[in-house]
Protein backbone atom coordinates (compact mmCIF):
# COMPACT_ATOMS: atom_id res chain seq x y z
CA UNK A 1 0.00 0.00 0.00
CA UNK A 2 1.04 3.61 -0.63
CA UNK A 3 0.31 5.83 2.36
CA UNK A 4 0.01 9.61 1.87
CA UNK A 5 0.47 12.13 4.67
CA UNK A 6 -2.28 14.76 4.69
CA UNK A 7 -0.73 17.97 5.99
CA UNK A 8 -3.09 20.63 7.28
CA UNK A 9 -3.14 23.90 9.21
CA UNK A 10 -5.93 26.13 10.53
CA UNK A 11 -8.49 23.43 9.74
CA UNK A 12 -7.59 23.39 6.03
CA UNK A 13 -5.72 20.77 4.03
CA UNK A 14 -2.61 22.38 2.51
CA UNK A 15 -2.26 22.55 -1.27
CA UNK A 16 0.98 20.54 -1.08
CA UNK A 17 -1.07 17.63 0.32
CA UNK A 18 -3.24 17.53 -2.80
CA UNK A 19 -0.07 17.29 -4.87
CA UNK A 20 1.21 14.49 -2.61
CA UNK A 21 -2.17 12.73 -3.01
CA UNK A 22 -1.93 12.92 -6.80
CA UNK A 23 1.62 11.59 -6.66
CA UNK A 24 0.73 8.75 -4.28
CA UNK A 25 -2.35 7.68 -6.24
CA UNK A 26 -0.40 7.63 -9.52
CA UNK A 27 2.41 5.69 -7.87
CA UNK A 28 -0.02 3.12 -6.45
CA UNK A 29 -1.30 2.53 -10.00
CA UNK A 30 2.27 1.96 -11.20
CA UNK A 31 2.86 -0.49 -8.37
CA UNK A 32 -0.52 -2.20 -8.76
CA UNK A 33 -1.52 -1.47 -5.18
CA UNK A 34 -3.89 0.78 -3.18
CA UNK A 35 -3.33 4.35 -2.04
CA UNK A 36 -4.66 5.60 1.28
CA UNK A 37 -4.35 8.86 3.20
CA UNK A 38 -3.38 9.40 6.82
CA UNK A 39 -4.74 12.44 8.65
CA UNK A 40 -3.51 13.17 12.17
CA UNK A 41 -5.59 15.83 13.91
CA UNK A 42 -8.78 17.54 12.80
CA UNK A 43 -9.84 19.59 9.79
CA UNK A 44 -12.88 21.79 9.27
CA UNK A 45 -13.60 20.59 5.75
CA UNK A 46 -15.17 17.25 4.80
CA UNK A 47 -12.40 14.65 5.18
CA UNK A 48 -14.27 12.10 3.05
CA UNK A 49 -13.99 14.54 0.14
CA UNK A 50 -10.26 13.73 0.00
CA UNK A 51 -11.51 10.72 -1.99
CA UNK A 52 -11.84 13.18 -4.88
CA UNK A 53 -8.07 12.89 -5.23
CA UNK A 54 -8.28 9.15 -5.78
CA UNK A 55 -7.81 7.49 -2.38
CA UNK A 56 -10.30 4.84 -1.24
CA UNK A 57 -9.51 5.07 2.48
CA UNK A 58 -8.50 7.82 4.84
CA UNK A 59 -7.01 6.73 8.17
CA UNK A 60 -7.67 9.41 10.76
CA UNK A 61 -6.67 9.96 14.36
CA UNK A 62 -8.92 12.90 15.14
CA UNK A 63 -7.23 14.25 18.23
CA UNK A 64 -6.96 18.09 18.13
CA UNK A 65 -3.65 17.91 20.04
CA UNK A 66 -2.18 16.59 16.79
CA UNK A 67 -2.92 19.81 14.93
CA UNK A 68 0.43 21.09 16.22
CA UNK A 69 3.42 19.93 14.17
CA UNK A 70 5.44 18.20 16.88
CA UNK A 71 7.92 16.19 14.84
CA UNK A 72 8.58 13.55 17.55
CA UNK A 73 4.89 12.83 18.07
CA UNK A 74 3.74 12.97 14.46
CA UNK A 75 6.60 10.82 13.19
CA UNK A 76 6.08 8.16 15.87
CA UNK A 77 2.38 7.91 14.94
CA UNK A 78 3.10 7.89 11.19
CA UNK A 79 5.67 5.13 11.53
CA UNK A 80 3.40 3.02 13.77
CA UNK A 81 0.47 3.41 11.37
CA UNK A 82 2.64 2.57 8.35
CA UNK A 83 3.93 -0.59 10.03
CA UNK A 84 0.46 -1.67 11.20
CA UNK A 85 -1.09 -1.04 7.79
CA UNK A 86 1.77 -2.65 5.88
CA UNK A 87 2.59 0.45 3.82
CA UNK A 88 5.52 -0.05 1.45
CA UNK A 89 5.81 3.57 0.31
CA UNK A 90 5.08 6.65 2.40
CA UNK A 91 4.53 9.97 0.61
CA UNK A 92 4.93 13.40 2.24
CA UNK A 93 4.82 16.94 0.89
CA UNK A 94 8.33 18.46 0.91
CA UNK A 95 7.17 21.47 2.96
CA UNK A 96 7.75 22.58 6.54
CA UNK A 97 5.82 19.58 7.90
CA UNK A 98 7.34 17.02 5.55
CA UNK A 99 10.80 18.29 6.46
CA UNK A 100 9.89 17.90 10.15
CA UNK A 101 8.69 14.31 9.94
CA UNK A 102 9.52 12.43 6.72
CA UNK A 103 13.23 11.80 7.54
CA UNK A 104 12.30 10.70 11.08
CA UNK A 105 9.71 8.29 9.71
CA UNK A 106 12.32 6.95 7.28
CA UNK A 107 14.66 6.20 10.20
CA UNK A 108 11.89 4.44 12.13
CA UNK A 109 10.82 2.35 9.13
CA UNK A 110 14.45 1.65 8.09
CA UNK A 111 13.47 3.16 4.77
CA UNK A 112 15.55 5.10 2.27
CA UNK A 113 14.18 8.55 1.57
CA UNK A 114 14.16 10.76 -1.50
CA UNK A 115 13.40 14.34 -0.50
CA UNK A 116 12.05 16.81 -2.99
CA UNK A 117 10.94 14.39 -5.70
CA UNK A 118 10.04 16.05 -9.01
CA UNK A 119 8.78 13.00 -10.93
CA UNK A 120 7.17 9.63 -10.36
CA UNK A 121 9.60 6.75 -9.75
CA UNK A 122 11.10 4.86 -12.65
CA UNK A 123 10.56 1.18 -11.83
CA UNK A 124 12.41 -0.30 -14.80
CA UNK A 125 15.58 -0.91 -12.78
CA UNK A 126 14.73 -0.93 -9.09
CA UNK A 127 13.05 2.15 -7.62
CA UNK A 128 14.58 5.35 -8.96
CA UNK A 129 13.25 8.82 -8.18
CA UNK A 130 14.18 12.12 -9.80
CA UNK A 131 14.90 15.11 -7.58
CA UNK A 132 16.30 18.62 -7.95
CA UNK A 133 19.90 19.09 -6.79
CA UNK A 134 22.34 22.02 -6.65
CA UNK A 135 19.37 24.21 -5.72
CA UNK A 136 17.63 23.61 -9.02
CA UNK A 137 20.72 23.88 -11.23
CA UNK A 138 20.50 20.12 -12.00
CA UNK A 139 18.51 16.95 -11.38
CA UNK A 140 19.59 13.61 -9.96
CA UNK A 141 18.16 10.11 -10.25
CA UNK A 142 18.24 8.49 -6.83
CA UNK A 143 17.87 4.77 -6.32
CA UNK A 144 16.21 3.68 -3.10
CA UNK A 145 17.90 0.52 -1.84
CA UNK A 146 15.53 -0.45 0.97
CA UNK A 147 12.27 -2.46 0.91
CA UNK A 148 10.24 0.38 2.34
CA UNK A 149 10.50 3.81 0.71
CA UNK A 150 9.76 7.35 1.84
CA UNK A 151 9.33 10.11 -0.74
CA UNK A 152 8.69 13.79 -0.12
CA UNK A 153 7.23 15.57 -3.11
CA UNK A 154 8.46 19.02 -4.17
CA UNK A 155 5.71 21.65 -4.05
CA UNK A 156 4.40 22.84 -7.43
CA UNK A 157 5.93 19.90 -9.29
CA UNK A 158 2.69 18.00 -9.92
CA UNK A 159 -0.57 18.95 -11.48
CA UNK A 160 -3.37 18.04 -9.07
CA UNK A 161 -5.81 15.38 -10.34
CA UNK A 162 -9.32 15.70 -8.95
CA UNK A 163 -12.56 13.94 -9.66
CA UNK A 164 -15.57 15.59 -8.04
CA UNK A 165 -17.48 12.38 -7.44
CA UNK A 166 -14.89 10.56 -5.30
CA UNK A 167 -15.39 9.90 -1.59
CA UNK A 168 -13.02 8.22 0.87
CA UNK A 169 -14.04 5.81 3.61
CA UNK A 170 -12.84 7.25 6.91
CA UNK A 171 -11.18 4.63 9.08
CA UNK A 172 -10.48 5.79 12.67
CA UNK A 173 -7.01 4.98 13.95
CA UNK A 174 -6.64 3.79 17.48
CA UNK A 175 -3.18 4.67 18.75
CA UNK A 176 -1.73 6.07 21.96
CA UNK A 177 -0.46 9.60 21.44
CA UNK A 178 3.07 10.08 22.86
CA UNK A 179 3.75 13.09 25.11
CA UNK A 180 4.30 16.44 23.36
CA UNK A 181 7.86 17.73 23.01
CA UNK A 182 6.98 21.16 21.62
CA UNK A 183 4.75 23.89 22.98
CA UNK A 184 3.43 26.23 20.30
CA UNK A 185 3.53 29.74 21.79
CA UNK A 186 2.27 31.77 18.84
CA UNK A 187 1.59 31.65 15.13
CA UNK A 188 2.12 34.73 12.98
CA UNK A 189 0.42 34.43 9.62
CA UNK A 190 1.20 36.99 6.98
CA UNK A 191 -2.37 38.13 6.52
CA UNK A 192 -4.08 37.94 3.16
CA UNK A 193 -0.96 36.79 1.36
CA UNK A 194 -0.50 33.60 -0.60
CA UNK A 195 2.18 31.37 1.01
CA UNK A 196 5.36 31.80 -1.03
CA UNK A 197 6.19 28.10 -1.31
CA UNK A 198 2.70 27.20 -2.49
CA UNK A 199 2.10 30.19 -4.77
CA UNK A 200 1.42 29.68 -8.47
CA UNK A 201 2.56 33.22 -9.22
CA UNK A 202 5.36 35.09 -7.44
CA UNK A 203 6.26 38.77 -7.87
CA UNK A 204 9.77 39.50 -6.66
CA UNK A 205 11.67 42.74 -6.10
CA UNK A 206 15.39 43.46 -6.05
CA UNK A 207 17.71 46.34 -5.26
CA UNK A 208 16.44 48.10 -8.37
CA UNK A 209 13.39 49.10 -6.30
CA UNK A 210 15.73 51.49 -4.43
CA UNK A 211 14.09 51.27 -1.00
CA UNK A 212 11.34 49.67 1.11
CA UNK A 213 9.08 52.70 0.61
CA UNK A 214 8.75 51.74 -3.07
CA UNK A 215 7.31 48.27 -2.49
CA UNK A 216 3.77 49.46 -3.16
CA UNK A 217 4.16 48.78 -6.89
CA UNK A 218 5.35 45.22 -6.16
CA UNK A 219 2.45 44.56 -3.80
CA UNK A 220 -0.13 46.06 -6.16
CA UNK A 221 1.04 43.84 -9.01
CA UNK A 222 1.04 40.81 -6.69
CA UNK A 223 -2.47 41.61 -5.53
CA UNK A 224 -3.76 41.93 -9.09
CA UNK A 225 -2.32 38.47 -9.84
CA UNK A 226 -3.19 36.81 -6.48
CA UNK A 227 0.53 36.27 -6.21
CA UNK A 228 2.98 35.92 -3.33
CA UNK A 229 5.79 38.44 -2.95
CA UNK A 230 9.48 37.62 -2.74
CA UNK A 231 12.81 39.46 -2.85
CA UNK A 232 16.53 39.08 -3.52
CA UNK A 233 18.98 38.50 -0.70
CA UNK A 234 20.41 42.03 -0.38
CA UNK A 235 16.86 43.33 -0.07
CA UNK A 236 16.19 41.05 2.93
CA UNK A 237 19.66 41.67 4.39
CA UNK A 238 19.09 45.43 4.27
CA UNK A 239 15.86 44.95 6.16
CA UNK A 240 13.72 46.33 3.31
CA UNK A 241 11.68 43.11 3.34
CA UNK A 242 11.31 40.25 5.85
CA UNK A 243 13.80 37.36 5.66
CA UNK A 244 11.08 34.86 4.82
CA UNK A 245 10.74 36.51 1.38
CA UNK A 246 14.41 35.92 0.46
CA UNK A 247 14.56 33.50 -2.46
CA UNK A 248 17.64 31.94 -4.00
CA UNK A 249 20.29 29.39 -3.33
CA UNK A 250 20.66 30.46 0.28
CA UNK A 251 17.02 31.42 0.80
CA UNK A 252 13.82 29.74 -0.21
CA UNK A 253 13.67 27.70 -3.42
CA UNK A 254 10.49 28.02 -5.39
CA UNK A 255 9.02 26.68 -8.62
CA UNK A 256 5.86 28.67 -9.40
CA UNK A 257 4.10 28.72 -12.78
CA UNK A 258 5.06 32.38 -13.19
CA UNK A 259 7.94 34.31 -11.61
CA UNK A 260 8.12 38.05 -12.26
CA UNK A 261 11.45 39.66 -11.36
CA UNK A 262 11.48 43.43 -10.90
CA UNK A 263 14.83 45.21 -10.64
CA UNK A 264 16.77 42.00 -9.96
CA UNK A 265 20.06 41.49 -11.81
CA UNK A 266 19.84 37.68 -11.94
CA UNK A 267 22.98 36.65 -10.04
CA UNK A 268 23.71 32.94 -10.19
CA UNK A 269 22.71 32.48 -6.53
CA UNK A 270 19.37 34.13 -7.15
CA UNK A 271 18.69 32.11 -10.30
CA UNK A 272 19.44 28.85 -8.49
CA UNK A 273 16.40 29.31 -6.27
CA UNK A 274 13.93 30.35 -8.96
CA UNK A 275 14.97 28.80 -12.28
CA UNK A 276 12.59 25.87 -11.98
CA UNK A 277 9.72 28.37 -12.41
CA UNK A 278 7.75 27.43 -15.51
CA UNK A 279 7.65 30.95 -16.94
CA UNK A 280 9.99 33.78 -15.98
CA UNK A 281 9.36 37.46 -16.74
CA UNK A 282 12.12 40.01 -16.15
CA UNK A 283 11.71 43.75 -15.99
CA UNK A 284 15.05 45.52 -15.71
CA UNK A 285 16.38 48.81 -17.10
CA UNK A 286 19.72 47.25 -18.02
CA UNK A 287 19.48 45.24 -21.26
CA UNK A 288 22.70 43.47 -20.22
CA UNK A 289 21.27 42.19 -16.93
CA UNK A 290 22.09 38.44 -16.74
CA UNK A 291 18.50 37.63 -15.76
CA UNK A 292 17.33 38.15 -19.35
CA UNK A 293 19.30 35.04 -20.35
CA UNK A 294 17.21 32.94 -17.97
CA UNK A 295 13.90 34.60 -18.83
CA UNK A 296 11.04 33.66 -21.14
CA UNK A 297 9.70 37.20 -21.49
CA UNK A 298 11.32 40.51 -20.73
CA UNK A 299 10.89 44.24 -20.79
CA UNK A 300 13.89 46.54 -20.82
CA UNK A 301 12.56 49.46 -18.85
CA UNK A 302 12.24 51.33 -15.59
CA UNK A 303 10.17 49.42 -13.01
CA UNK A 304 8.64 52.65 -11.69
CA UNK A 305 7.27 53.38 -15.14
CA UNK A 306 6.43 49.87 -16.40
CA UNK A 307 5.05 48.09 -13.34
CA UNK A 308 2.08 50.39 -12.53
CA UNK A 309 0.99 50.22 -16.18
CA UNK A 310 1.37 46.44 -16.17
CA UNK A 311 -0.78 46.18 -13.04
CA UNK A 312 -3.55 48.25 -14.66
CA UNK A 313 -3.42 46.11 -17.79
CA UNK A 314 -3.70 42.90 -15.74
CA UNK A 315 -6.70 44.24 -13.84
CA UNK A 316 -8.47 44.56 -17.20
CA UNK A 317 -8.20 40.77 -17.64
CA UNK A 318 -10.26 39.99 -14.57
Amino acid sequence: MVLIFIDHADGQVKKASFEALTYGVELAKLLGTDAAGILLGTIETDAAALGQYGIGKLYQLSNPALNAMDSSVISALCAKAAADLGATVFIFPHNSSGKSVAPRVAVRLKAGIVSGATALPDLSDGFVVKKAVFSGKAFAQVKVLTDIKVISVNPNSFHINKNDSGSAEIVPLNMDVPPATIKVVSVQKVSGEVPLTEAEIVVSGGRGLKGPENWGIVEDLAKALHAATACSRPVADSGWRPHHEHVGQTGIQIAPDLYIALGISGAIQHLAGVNRSKTIVVINKDPEAPFFKAADYGIVGDVFDVVPRLTEEIKKLA
Binding site: K14, D70, S71, S72, S75, N95, S96, K99, S100, V101, P103, R104, A106, V107, G112, I113, S115, S135, K137, A138, F139, A140, Q141, K143, V144, L145, T181, I182, K183, V184, S186, V187, Q188, K189, V190, E193, V194, I201, L225, H243, H244, H246, Q249, T250, G251, I252, L258, I268, Q269, T279, V281, A295, D296, Y297, G298, I299, D305, V306, L310, E313
Partner: protein, 247 residues
Protein backbone atom coordinates in the same frame (compact mmCIF):
# COMPACT_ATOMS: atom_id res chain seq x y z
CA UNK B 1 26.16 23.72 27.93
CA UNK B 2 27.64 21.80 24.98
CA UNK B 3 26.67 22.58 21.40
CA UNK B 4 27.41 20.49 18.32
CA UNK B 5 27.38 22.18 14.90
CA UNK B 6 27.02 19.94 11.84
CA UNK B 7 29.16 21.29 9.02
CA UNK B 8 29.08 20.09 5.47
CA UNK B 9 31.26 21.15 2.57
CA UNK B 10 29.57 22.32 -0.62
CA UNK B 11 30.69 23.78 -3.93
CA UNK B 12 30.92 27.57 -3.93
CA UNK B 13 27.65 29.11 -5.13
CA UNK B 14 29.27 30.33 -8.36
CA UNK B 15 30.68 26.90 -9.28
CA UNK B 16 30.01 25.51 -12.70
CA UNK B 17 27.72 22.53 -12.28
CA UNK B 18 28.81 19.71 -14.60
CA UNK B 19 28.94 15.92 -14.48
CA UNK B 20 31.40 13.27 -15.63
CA UNK B 21 31.67 9.49 -16.17
CA UNK B 22 28.51 9.37 -18.26
CA UNK B 23 26.69 11.79 -15.96
CA UNK B 24 27.09 9.50 -12.96
CA UNK B 25 29.35 11.77 -10.87
CA UNK B 26 29.61 15.46 -10.09
CA UNK B 27 32.63 16.96 -11.84
CA UNK B 28 34.71 18.49 -9.06
CA UNK B 29 37.46 19.88 -11.28
CA UNK B 30 37.96 23.59 -10.68
CA UNK B 31 35.36 23.68 -7.92
CA UNK B 32 36.03 25.88 -4.88
CA UNK B 33 34.68 24.39 -1.67
CA UNK B 34 32.94 26.37 1.01
CA UNK B 35 31.11 25.68 4.26
CA UNK B 36 27.45 25.09 3.44
CA UNK B 37 26.09 28.65 3.93
CA UNK B 38 23.23 27.58 6.23
CA UNK B 39 25.68 25.78 8.51
CA UNK B 40 28.07 28.72 8.61
CA UNK B 41 25.99 31.89 8.53
CA UNK B 42 23.14 30.67 10.67
CA UNK B 43 23.97 27.60 12.81
CA UNK B 44 27.60 28.35 13.64
CA UNK B 45 27.28 32.11 14.00
CA UNK B 46 24.22 31.77 16.26
CA UNK B 47 26.14 29.32 18.46
CA UNK B 48 29.05 31.78 18.64
CA UNK B 49 26.59 34.49 19.72
CA UNK B 50 25.29 32.21 22.47
CA UNK B 51 28.87 31.67 23.64
CA UNK B 52 29.54 35.41 23.62
CA UNK B 53 26.63 35.80 26.06
CA UNK B 54 27.67 32.80 28.16
CA UNK B 55 31.40 32.00 27.95
CA UNK B 56 30.87 28.59 29.60
CA UNK B 57 29.26 27.36 26.37
CA UNK B 58 31.40 24.76 24.56
CA UNK B 59 31.09 24.46 20.76
CA UNK B 60 32.16 21.37 18.85
CA UNK B 61 32.04 21.04 15.06
CA UNK B 62 31.53 17.82 13.18
CA UNK B 63 31.69 16.86 9.54
CA UNK B 64 31.36 13.51 7.82
CA UNK B 65 33.67 13.27 4.84
CA UNK B 66 37.14 12.60 3.49
CA UNK B 67 40.41 14.48 4.17
CA UNK B 68 39.40 17.06 1.52
CA UNK B 69 36.96 18.44 4.14
CA UNK B 70 39.79 19.53 6.45
CA UNK B 71 40.36 23.00 4.92
CA UNK B 72 36.64 23.72 5.12
CA UNK B 73 36.37 22.63 8.76
CA UNK B 74 39.46 24.75 9.58
CA UNK B 75 37.67 27.72 8.06
CA UNK B 76 34.74 27.04 10.34
CA UNK B 77 37.11 26.82 13.33
CA UNK B 78 38.44 30.26 12.35
CA UNK B 79 34.98 31.65 13.05
CA UNK B 80 34.60 29.82 16.36
CA UNK B 81 34.32 26.53 18.17
CA UNK B 82 36.77 24.78 20.51
CA UNK B 83 37.39 21.64 18.52
CA UNK B 84 36.29 19.76 15.44
CA UNK B 85 35.76 16.15 14.50
CA UNK B 86 35.77 14.61 11.07
CA UNK B 87 34.21 11.21 10.65
CA UNK B 88 36.36 9.70 7.95
CA UNK B 89 33.74 8.50 5.47
CA UNK B 90 33.05 9.54 1.89
CA UNK B 91 29.96 9.13 -0.27
CA UNK B 92 27.65 8.65 2.71
CA UNK B 93 23.95 9.35 2.14
CA UNK B 94 21.81 11.35 4.59
CA UNK B 95 20.95 8.25 6.64
CA UNK B 96 24.59 7.24 6.89
CA UNK B 97 25.74 10.78 7.77
CA UNK B 98 23.13 11.03 10.51
CA UNK B 99 24.13 7.61 11.84
CA UNK B 100 27.77 8.72 12.09
CA UNK B 101 26.94 12.01 13.84
CA UNK B 102 24.53 10.23 16.20
CA UNK B 103 27.26 7.77 17.21
CA UNK B 104 29.54 10.67 18.24
CA UNK B 105 26.70 12.62 19.88
CA UNK B 106 25.66 9.65 22.04
CA UNK B 107 29.09 9.65 23.67
CA UNK B 108 29.50 13.41 23.94
CA UNK B 109 26.00 14.19 25.25
CA UNK B 110 25.29 17.56 23.64
CA UNK B 111 22.57 19.87 24.95
CA UNK B 112 22.00 21.36 21.55
CA UNK B 113 22.70 20.17 18.01
CA UNK B 114 22.46 22.76 15.25
CA UNK B 115 22.55 22.07 11.54
CA UNK B 116 21.65 23.93 8.38
CA UNK B 117 18.18 23.68 6.85
CA UNK B 118 19.71 21.78 3.93
CA UNK B 119 22.93 21.53 1.95
CA UNK B 120 22.98 23.67 -1.18
CA UNK B 121 24.26 20.76 -3.29
CA UNK B 122 21.95 17.83 -2.55
CA UNK B 123 19.13 19.82 -0.93
CA UNK B 124 17.92 16.91 1.19
CA UNK B 125 16.87 18.69 4.39
CA UNK B 126 17.08 15.27 6.06
CA UNK B 127 20.15 14.93 8.27
CA UNK B 128 18.86 17.04 11.19
CA UNK B 129 15.52 15.25 11.49
CA UNK B 130 17.19 11.84 11.19
CA UNK B 131 19.68 12.75 13.88
CA UNK B 132 16.84 13.84 16.18
CA UNK B 133 15.09 10.52 15.62
CA UNK B 134 18.23 8.50 16.28
CA UNK B 135 18.93 10.46 19.48
CA UNK B 136 15.22 10.57 20.49
CA UNK B 137 15.26 14.36 20.68
CA UNK B 138 12.77 17.02 19.68
CA UNK B 139 13.44 18.58 16.28
CA UNK B 140 12.54 22.01 14.96
CA UNK B 141 13.28 22.74 11.32
CA UNK B 142 13.65 25.91 9.24
CA UNK B 143 14.35 28.02 12.32
CA UNK B 144 14.71 31.77 11.77
CA UNK B 145 15.24 32.76 15.45
CA UNK B 146 16.73 30.93 18.41
CA UNK B 147 16.75 32.16 22.02
CA UNK B 148 17.79 30.27 25.11
CA UNK B 149 16.65 30.78 28.71
CA UNK B 150 18.03 28.09 31.02
CA UNK B 151 16.97 24.77 29.55
CA UNK B 152 14.17 26.24 27.44
CA UNK B 153 14.70 27.21 23.83
CA UNK B 154 12.30 29.62 22.15
CA UNK B 155 12.46 28.97 18.44
CA UNK B 156 10.72 30.76 15.58
CA UNK B 157 10.40 28.70 12.44
CA UNK B 158 9.03 29.12 8.94
CA UNK B 159 5.66 27.55 8.20
CA UNK B 160 3.57 27.89 5.04
CA UNK B 161 2.43 31.50 4.88
CA UNK B 162 3.99 32.69 8.11
CA UNK B 163 5.99 31.80 11.18
CA UNK B 164 5.42 29.85 14.35
CA UNK B 165 7.15 30.28 17.70
CA UNK B 166 7.69 27.16 19.80
CA UNK B 167 9.08 26.45 23.23
CA UNK B 168 11.18 23.32 23.46
CA UNK B 169 13.26 21.82 26.28
CA UNK B 170 16.91 20.91 25.74
CA UNK B 171 18.39 18.66 24.49
CA UNK B 172 17.15 19.18 20.94
CA UNK B 173 18.11 19.40 17.29
CA UNK B 174 17.39 22.54 15.28
CA UNK B 175 17.87 23.25 11.57
CA UNK B 176 18.75 26.88 10.84
CA UNK B 177 18.13 29.27 7.97
CA UNK B 178 18.06 32.88 6.89
CA UNK B 179 17.14 35.35 9.63
CA UNK B 180 18.87 33.64 12.54
CA UNK B 181 22.18 35.52 12.48
CA UNK B 182 24.35 37.74 10.30
CA UNK B 183 27.20 36.34 8.26
CA UNK B 184 30.66 36.98 9.81
CA UNK B 185 34.06 37.19 8.18
CA UNK B 186 36.83 35.36 10.12
CA UNK B 187 39.55 37.70 11.38
CA UNK B 188 43.30 37.09 11.43
CA UNK B 189 43.27 36.06 15.11
CA UNK B 190 40.57 33.50 14.41
CA UNK B 191 42.46 32.11 11.44
CA UNK B 192 45.68 31.79 13.49
CA UNK B 193 43.86 30.21 16.41
CA UNK B 194 42.13 27.71 14.12
CA UNK B 195 45.51 26.26 13.09
CA UNK B 196 46.12 24.88 16.54
CA UNK B 197 42.59 23.87 17.49
CA UNK B 198 42.13 20.08 17.64
CA UNK B 199 40.66 18.41 14.55
CA UNK B 200 40.09 14.78 15.49
CA UNK B 201 39.62 12.14 12.85
CA UNK B 202 37.06 9.55 13.94
CA UNK B 203 36.64 6.20 12.22
CA UNK B 204 33.07 5.58 11.00
CA UNK B 205 30.67 3.00 12.33
CA UNK B 206 29.72 0.39 9.73
CA UNK B 207 26.36 1.04 8.07
CA UNK B 208 25.03 0.81 4.54
CA UNK B 209 23.64 3.72 2.55
CA UNK B 210 19.88 3.54 2.02
CA UNK B 211 19.98 5.47 -1.25
CA UNK B 212 22.34 5.85 -4.17
CA UNK B 213 22.72 8.73 -6.65
CA UNK B 214 22.94 6.95 -9.97
CA UNK B 215 22.66 9.65 -12.62
CA UNK B 216 22.52 13.42 -13.11
CA UNK B 217 21.02 15.64 -15.77
CA UNK B 218 20.87 19.34 -16.53
CA UNK B 219 17.51 21.11 -16.89
CA UNK B 220 16.45 21.85 -20.49
CA UNK B 221 17.92 25.15 -21.67
CA UNK B 222 15.60 28.13 -22.05
CA UNK B 223 14.80 28.85 -25.68
CA UNK B 224 15.65 32.54 -25.39
CA UNK B 225 13.89 35.59 -24.06
CA UNK B 226 11.07 37.29 -25.97
CA UNK B 227 11.49 41.02 -25.44
CA UNK B 228 8.44 43.25 -25.40
CA UNK B 229 8.80 47.04 -25.80
CA UNK B 230 8.36 48.97 -22.54
CA UNK B 231 5.50 51.01 -23.99
CA UNK B 232 3.48 47.90 -24.88
CA UNK B 233 2.69 46.18 -21.58
CA UNK B 234 -0.59 44.99 -23.11
CA UNK B 235 1.43 42.72 -25.40
CA UNK B 236 3.19 41.16 -22.38
CA UNK B 237 -0.17 40.51 -20.73
CA UNK B 238 -1.46 38.95 -23.95
CA UNK B 239 1.58 36.65 -24.21
CA UNK B 240 1.27 35.53 -20.60
CA UNK B 241 -2.44 34.92 -21.04
CA UNK B 242 -2.57 33.33 -24.49
CA UNK B 243 0.88 31.87 -25.12
CA UNK B 244 2.31 30.90 -21.73
CA UNK B 245 -1.22 30.50 -20.27
CA UNK B 246 0.00 31.39 -16.78
CA UNK B 247 -2.45 34.21 -16.04
Amino acid sequence: MKILICISKTPDTTSKIAFKDNNTRFDESGVQWIINPYDEWYALVRAIELKEKDPSVIIHLITVGGPDCDPVIRKALALGGEEAMRVNLQDADAFNIATQIAAVAREQKYDLIMCGKETIDYNNASVGAMLAEMLEMPFVCLATKFELTGQTATITREIEGGEETDEVQLPLVVSCQTGMAEQRIPNMRGIMAARTKPLKVVEPVAVENATQYIRYEMPPAKSGVKLVPADNVAELVRLLHEEAKVI
